[in-house]
């Protein structure tokens, strides 16, 4: 459904952030995008949604196709109209509007009554229904995360781009959010591309995963396989090789080199 071919992105015409990223999101599937800080994960999402334009970024090479339509030169407003909605990092709610006004904003492009959509979101997040007249700026972090996800759901997107849905949330809440992601995906058949630091959570719901470092895709495998990859385990899941005797040699070089950077 979404195909990214060797996309190169520069900010301010000089800072090369993506050096030829290729990836694919199949219809109705969840794909995880992992990587360290500054690897270029969020930039991938903004390249797809077109929001690069708002941050002085530009796609300088490669192409992006969505259901056969070339979208890498389209404006973010037109890309949304094709059914791609990005949930921007950092829980960007409209602080001074109410919860319900925020949600209605998500359905801005839908014509007529949005009651059905509101009920759908409230069925996923009953908490939001209780808070529907509350000022969004005063919601807790978890509630705001539910709100921005609910806002994206309002548009019935074909592809949802989630940027760090677990950022700064307690483990239980993270679990709840990812349960919702899985449920929404299986019930509404919305494809998702999830950028996460919490690799374990992301790989638990994804079909497929990509690891990106320094603006390049360095690993690409089905999620289950990726979760068992020794490098991923070490660098992103925080596990050391199990069953091996620890030696001083290892302690000294307690961090394996990232082989792909060699």
């Amino acid at each position: 459904m979404l195909v990214m071919n060797a996309v190169e992105v520069r900010y301010l015409d000089v800072i090369l952030v993506l050096r030829g990223v290729s990836l694919e999101v199949p219809e109705g599937k969840i794909v995880a995008l992992l990587g360290g800080n500054g690897a270029g994960k969020s930039t991938v999402l903004k390249a797809i949604s077109g929001l690069l334009e708002t941050e002085e970024g530009k796609i300088t090479d490669g192409s992006i196709y969505f259901n056969g339509t070339r979208i890498d030169r389209m404006s973010p407003e037109d890309i949304v109209r094709l059914g791609i909605v990005q949930v921007i990092e950092g829980r960007r709610v409209m602080e001074h509007l109410t919860t319900e006004q925020n949600l209605r904003g998500g359905a801005y492009l839908r014509h007529g009554d949005v009651k059905r959509e509101l009920d759908m979101v409230y069925s996923y997040f009953p908490r939001l229904k209780e808070l529907r007249h509350a000022t969004a700026g005063y919601l807790s972090g978890g509630e705001q995360q539910m709100l921005v996800m609910g806002r994206a759901m309002m548009a019935h997107p074909k592809l949802m781009l989630l940027d760090e849905p677990s950022m700064g949330l307690a483990p239980l809440l993270t679990k709840e959010i990812f349960n919702m992601i899985q449920r929404f995906n299986s019930e509404e058949k919305t494809a998702m591309l999830i950028v996460e630091q919490n690799a374990r959570a992301a790989l638990s719901v994804a079909e497929h995963g990509y690891v990106i470092e320094n603006g390049r895709v360095v690993l690409d495998a089905p999620a289950a396989k990726l979760a068992n990859n020794p490098d991923v385990k070490e660098f992103y899941l925080g596990l050391s090789t199990v069953g091996e005797k620890r030696s001083y040699r290892e302690v000294k070089h307690y961090r394996r080199r990232k082989r792909w950077l060699a």
Partner: protein
């Protein structure tokens, strides 16, 4: 005496509130303080005078024409001034509005000279007596029209999609674009709204007093204090602030003027503005940035 001052203050305050409403609309959507607002108000009133007196059109037609022109002017400002300045610091845009204001004042002097003219009377003027207090009828009408506009705008923001779009743009333009809202269109619409309000308030103000170039000043000397008092982003604030400033100007001015030989009422709103800035810079209903701890 006090009651008389109070009632006059409320009446004139409604108009000030309406003028400030135009400033608030533009600030809310684009974060730009429109320093040309007063000049637009003045020149639109002049246009109305020209249509009615020089071309001899009926007053209602003149007003409709001016409203149409104000819509076009609003769209034009976005297209030829705001859009080229996208990505520039907000101060650049504010200074551009200052330049535009002076330009309009220059045009007004070229076209109409420095005269003072009167609009044809289209609102009855006989005062109405409420016990000991008299209300000039044209002030009452102007006040009523101002209130009506406020109510319409509040309904517009609460119940229409365009209104919701404007509120979202005023909060976060990047999020607005991520939801598919065309920010440029929304900005053009809010400028068009603001200039329609400038036209209405300009014509009302001119019908209370007269048409002259000095009318441009109420943009800064009256509406700015109102906007700061009410809160930069608040529509209710513009109305409440307008009435407070109106009362303050007439009551305080009324009592102090005889002592200082007149003129204090003109600076009273500015005096109030200074106090607001020191005590409560975000105004009565303005946005205090929500900080959760």
């Amino acid at each position: 005496m006090f009651l008389q001052f109070l009632v006059s203050g409320i009446m004139i305050g409604g108009i000030y509130g309406l003028v400030a409403l135009g400033l608030v609309l533009v600030y809310k959507s684009s974060r730009v303080l429109n320093l040309a607002h007063g000049s637009f108000l003045m020149i639109l009133a002049w246009l109305c005078w020209s249509f009615a007196e020089q071309l001899g059109l009926p007053i209602w037609l003149s007003i409709l024409l001016v409203l149409a022109i104000s819509v076009l002017a609003g769209l034009g400002v976005e297209r030829f001034m705001l859009r080229p300045l996208i990505g520039q610091p907000i101060l650049a845009v504010i200074i551009a509005t200052l330049a535009l204001g002076y330009l309009l004042e220059g045009v007004a002097i070229m076209a109409w000279g420095a005269d003072t003219k009167g609009l044809p009377e289209f609102i009855p003027r006989e005062p109405i007596w409420l016990g000991p207090v008299s209300i000039a009828q044209h002030y009452l009408w102007a006040f009523g029209i101002a209130i009506l506009l406020f109510v319409l705008l509040l309904l517009f923001f609460r119940y229409t999609k365009m209104g919701l779009g404007m509120q979202i743009v005023s909060e976060d333009q990047q999020v607005a674009r991520s939801l598919g809202i065309r920010v440029k269109n929304i900005l053009a619409q809010s400028w068009a709204f603001a200039l329609v309000i400038a036209a209405i308030s300009g014509i009302l103000f001119a019908s209370l007093n007269s048409v002259n170039n000095g009318n441009a000043l109420i943009g800064l000397t009256k509406a700015l204090p109102v906007m700061l008092l009410g809160g930069l982003e608040s529509l209710y604030g513009a109305l409440v602030g307008g009435i407070i400033v109106g009362i303050f100007e007439i009551v305080v001015g009324g009592y102090i003027d005889p002592w200082v030989g007149g003129g204090f009422s003109n600076v009273a709103p500015l005096f109030l503005m200074l106090v607001i800035l020191l005590v409560r810079p975000y105004g009565i209903f303005g946005w205090q940035r929500i900080e959760r701890i």
